[in-house]
Structures are given as structure tokens and as C-alpha cells.
Symmetry: C2
Subunit: 187 residues, 2 copies
């Protein structure tokens, strides 16, 4: 086997493992899936999985990264437009039948897995940065008053979407997203 063929084979089994994990997480959550299940579903040996991921926590974090389709930080010059774009993306991610259950599994797993809690911190941090950048630019333009608490404002914006997905399980649409943005911008 050439080095290129070997690379292709590795990439293919890696993709199969990530896809199998995403499906298993949706079916059984973090507590309900094992490396054995993943190996069986992906059609690979368990050793192949452990070559890439030492724990279920690492595997789950990589599944999140592989599903995440990061949008470029919007910069339309209009704060409301930028925030509606960022929140609409989050709404789609939370409601998608692929990514929604993986995020729910992440929340569930972090409840009892300290490694997962640690790994998740950096993932949360990245997402948050896009909101902070948009809000900071609005402060520079004078669209938000100086001294605006960008961290708190970000929490106020994203929290209602997580609440609907995880707690009340109410549907979300664009009208809801714009209502949240408008309410937070008024404050």
C-alpha cells in the first residue's frame, strides 16, 4: 500500500467512526454508547478507534468539531443584521436532527465526565468569540454604548435558544430569533 492509499484509508475509517458516533449519540446519548458500539457500527476494529481517540469524551468533542460548519464572523456594518445571522446559525445547529442530539449528549455527558467538561470549554469559547467580535465592533462604531458587557449580552442572546432546545423544547423560527435580538438590543 502506498502512503497515499494509507492516508485515504485512515481518513475513510476516521469519517466512518465519527458518523457512527453521531448516530449512536442521537439514539442513546452519552451514557448509552460505548467504544464497542462505535466499532461495530462503523465496521472497524476497536484498536482503530483507540489509535485516534483515547476516550469517549475526546471522540464526542471531535464529532462536534466535524459537524460544526463554522460561519465566518458576519460584518455587515449593521449590528442587528449580524446578530440575527449568528443566532439563526445557532438555531439551525440546535434544531438539526444531526447536530441537535449531539449537543444534548454533550450537555448530558458533561454532567458526570470531568474530561468532557474540560474539552468542551475550548469549543464553547470559540463560538462565543464570534458574538464578542460582533458586539465589540458595534461598540467601536458607537452602535452600542461604551462599557457594554459583551459577555453578559452574549449570554442573554444565546441562552433562550438553548433553553428552548434543551428545556422547554418549544420550536424556534426566525421570528423568535429576531424577537430575542430586538429585546436584547433594546436593553
Amino acid at each position: 500500500m502506498t502512503a497515499l492509499e494509507e492516508d485515504t484509508r485512515v481518513a475513510r475509517s476516521r469519517a466512518a467512526i465519527l458518523q457512527a458516533t453521531a448516530r449512536l449519540l442521537a439514539e442513546s446519548g452519552f451514557a448509552g454508547f460505548s467504544m464497542d458500539d462505535v466499532a461495530h457500527r462503523a465496521g472497524v476494529g476497536k484498536a482503530t478507534i483507540y489509535r485516534h481517540w483515547r476516550s469517549r469524551a475526546q471522540l464526542l468533542i471531535d464529532v462536534c468539531a466535524s459537524l460544526d460548519d463554522p460561519v465566518p464572523v458576519p460584518d455587515s456594518g449593521d449590528l442587528r443584521t449580524d446578530l440575527v445571522e449568528l443566532l439563526s446559525h445557532l438555531q439551525r445547529v440546535l434544531q438539526s436532527s444531526t447536530t441537535g442530539p449531539v449537543i444534548a449528549a454533550l450537555v448530558e455527558g458533561a454532567e458526570r465526565d470531568a474530561e468532557l467538561r474540560r474539552l468542551r470549554q475550548s469549543a464553547v469559547h470559540q463560538r462565543r468569540e464570534a458574538f464578542h467580535a460582533v458586539l465589540r465592533r458595534a461598540v467601536e462604531r458607537g452602535d452600542l454604548r461604551a462599557g457594554t458587557d459583551v459577555a453578559l449580552t452574549t449570554e442573554l442572546l444565546v441562552a433562550p435558544l438553548f433553553f428552548r432546545r434543551l428545556v422547554s423544547r418549544a420550536r424556534m423560527d426566525r421570528a423568535f430569533v429576531t424577537a430575542v435580538v430586538d429585546a436584547v438590543l433594546r436593553s
Copy 2:
């Protein structure tokens, strides 16, 4: 055994079952506990459990009800005071080492258990009513403008607390609660 003795015995085993369930949920989540575990931990037979609860979902809902220490709906005449009181109570419930993990288990369980989702609706409804009552009274007093969306306002108030408990796992204190109330009231 007299009827009174029988009642006492039933009440005692019921309390033991609820307490054992709360502990097991904190340790293992909804996916990780079984009626067998509960029976073993509470020192009762499985038949005793099934006499009161036909499913894990019903048992979990009753654990929530038994841990819930409902506050009377505050009515100080001042909207901000009332909302800070309601949210502070929610903050304590979410951060408590007894109730916090049970709420997390409820979120996790509802992901895959349709019965639990149904049963939870009425529990969520009750909590929500206290906020709606406080907000409606403020509209009547003229402290909030007529036509205020009390449902959306309630979501904006409670969501950041659930977000911190379930997603970012950041600590919450009274300063955070008042910051949320003030931001939402400004809008």
C-alpha cells in the same frame, strides 16, 4: 397492623424510594438508573416501587415534585424585587447539589423518553405561571407597557440561568441574577 400503622409504613417507604432515586439520578443520570437500583438502594422490593410508579419517568417527575419547595408568588408591589426573588429561587434550585442534578437528569431523559417529555410539560407550566402572574400584575400597575409579551419576557429571564447550569456551567450569584433582571427590564 392498624390502618394508621400501614399508612405510616407506606409513607416511609415512599420517602425512601424518592430519596434513593434522587441520589441515583445525581450519580448516574436518567439513562444510568433502573428500578432494580432504586429498590436495592431504598431497601424495598421492586413490587413496592411499581405499586406507586409504573415507569422511571413517573418516578423522576415525583422526585422533582418532592424536592420542589414552591415559593409563594411574590407580590411586593415592586416588579424588580419580585423578579429578583423568583430568579434567586430558581438559581438556588439549579445550583443545589440535590435538585440541580435531578433537573439535569430531566433534561437528559426528555431527550429520548416521550412519556417524560409529556409529564414534564405540566411541571414547567406551573413554574412559568409564577413569572406570568408577577409580569401581568406589573402591566396592570403600569410598570410594564401594555402589550408586553409575558411569555417571551419569562423566557429571557429564566434562560440565562439554565444556560449557566446546563451549558457553560459558570457559577451564578445574586449579582448575576440582578444583572439579568435589570437587562430584561430595560428592554
